[in-house]
């Protein structure tokens, strides 16, 4: 077993364990903290996949902003959240069965795919030395985001989507005192 495999398995175990805690913990603040751990694990996976930009963005957006927003929302609605009521609703049994079903069918379907167990070929770009590869890939990403033949429409639409989300969330959540 190589060092990379050890790191992967440790990260995977951490992700699955903390994800399980996220969905089962009674105390929602604990669940949110475990969510942070899960998201950090996913960032480690991104590093292993050599998508380092996404790894950093994962930490920045999910841990730095979304997790904070979650904890704020929990605190704002805490009175109910901290109750000793049951965590799960009456669907829990069905939900568990469905989750297992989804997992096994996903694995079975993907297992039938010919490239299921491929290994990665080294990441290369023609004419780019390996120590500038990361820089090159981020630059490519930046170019494709404003390239009319690539993703300029999703890029601008994403900005409009976020604007809509901002306005919508303020309309819904904001209420002037008195």
């Amino acid at each position: 077993m190589t060092a990379l495999q050890v790191i992967f398995l440790a990260t995977a175990a951490m992700i699955l364990f903390s994800a399980w805690m996220v969905v089962t913990r009674r105390n929602l603040v604990h669940a949110a903290l475990y969510l942070v751990l899960t998201l950090f694990g996913v960032a480690v996976l991104f590093v292993l996949l050599e998508a380092t930009f996404l790894a950093v963005v994962q930490v920045l957006i999910y841990i730095g902003a979304i997790a904070i927003l979650m904890i704020f929302a929990i605190m704002l609605t805490r009175r109910v959240a901290s109750d000793d009521t049951v965590v799960a609703n009456h669907n829990a049994g069905w939900a568990a069965m469905l989750a297992v079903l989804v997992f096994s069918s996903l694995v079975i379907i993907m297992g039938a795919w010919s490239q299921f167990t491929t290994f990665a070929s080294p990441l290369t770009r023609p004419g780019v030395p390996s120590n500038e590869l990361g820089q090159e890939i981020v630059a490519e990403l930046g170019q494709s985001l404003v390239d009319p033949d690539a993703y300029v429409i999703p890029f601008e639409v994403a900005s409009v989507l976020l604007l809509a989300a901002l306005i919508g969330a303020i309309v819904v959540a904001w209420q002037k005192d008195k």
Partner: protein, 102 residues
């Protein structure tokens, strides 16, 4: 070396745990956390496919970054709804929010 299958199985596992959370959690914020787990599972898949199958282009990463934007928008509006409902009904239990009967 790590085969692609490891990433895919892990992502499937994370997705299923998230799905369980969405279906079984009583608290609306908890449900949103489950959705976050599912979106992350999707992102792992996108990046893994980019790295193993299509590393010559940049499509996988561009997709993943759009997913980040969607996740952010979803959380922002979702939590705003939760807060608004809490203000009106003093509850965030999803099965008690049943004003809309038809």
């Amino acid at each position: 070396m790590i085969p692609l299958s490891w990433y895919l199985i892990l992502a499937a596992g994370l997705f299923s745990v998230g799905l369980y959370g969405v279906l079984s959690r009583k608290n609306a914020v908890g449900i949103l956390m489950g959705i976050e787990l599912m979106l992350n599972a999707a992102n792992i898949n996108l990046v893994a496919f980019w790295r193993y199958v299509d590393s010559d282009s940049i499509a996988g990463q561009a997709f993943a970054i759009i997913v980040f934007a969607v996740a952010a928008a979803e959380v922002a509006v979702g939590l705003a709804l939760v807060i608004s409902v809490y203000r009106l009904r003093k509850t965030v239990a999803a099965d008690e929010i049943d004003m809309l009967k038809w």
